[in-house]
């Protein structure tokens, strides 16, 4: 079942948005991308702006369909995947 590629929406916020140069994009997720960490590995191959955005990978936070997750979390059926710095509201 996981052998099909599928489209997901990626969102970038704050300085990740500025480094990637995009607020959002639709991407076709290749076969074999199981976790958040896998997705970041793949994104880093796509261009230097991604390499720069994820350079300090340990500080980048991720949400799947608007819920906080860890790098090891499986993407599952998530439709919307957001990357952002540690939050600074309040």
């Amino acid at each position: 079942m996981d052998k099909q590629t599928r489209n997901v929406r990626l969102l970038y916020f704050a300085w990740l948005r500025e480094k990637v140069g995009l607020a959002s994009e639709e991407v076709e997720l290749p076969v074999g991308i199981a976790t958040v960490a896998d997705l970041v590995d793949w994104l880093e191959q796509r261009g230097p702006q991604y390499g720069e955005a994820f350079a300090r990978r340990e500080v980048v936070r991720t949400a799947l369909d608007k819920v906080h997750v860890k790098p090891s979390t499986a993407l599952g059926a998530a439709r919307e995947i957001a990357f952002f710095p540690p939050v600074t509201g309040g």
Partner: protein, 150 residues
Amino acid sequence: MAVRVQHDDFDVSAETEKLIGGRTDIGAIVTFTGRVRGADSERQIEALTLEHYPDMTEAEMARIEAEAHARWPLQASLLIHRVGELHAGDNIVLVIAASAHRQAAFEAAAFLMDYLKTRAPFWKKETMPSGETKWVDARAEDDGAADRWR
């Protein structure tokens, strides 16, 4: 229970009245208001811009609020967070926690703020008088403050 994300300012008394006006089962109301601090010896600041992740902010704030209600006997609560461009002295965030007794109201309000600070997807960008901008760094103290509730 209510959460709101808005650009407009809020009034603490008016929000309290809307939330619990007329109720007689509440003995303790704690409010927290966060404001933009102006320039000081450590930093220059002309404006503060709040970016957020629409929809996730409300969803996460509602989860944080539900968690507070699961931990303390709260009669009512409210979370408001402003977004957009703000200036020194402006309100940023309002938390209200109402309970029969004061300990629950104080603890819940502190918890709501600690979790808002570390979980709700808002980001602050400071604009200097020179026009230069800088994303505010997360504070390790805020993670420590949130950790004490685990």
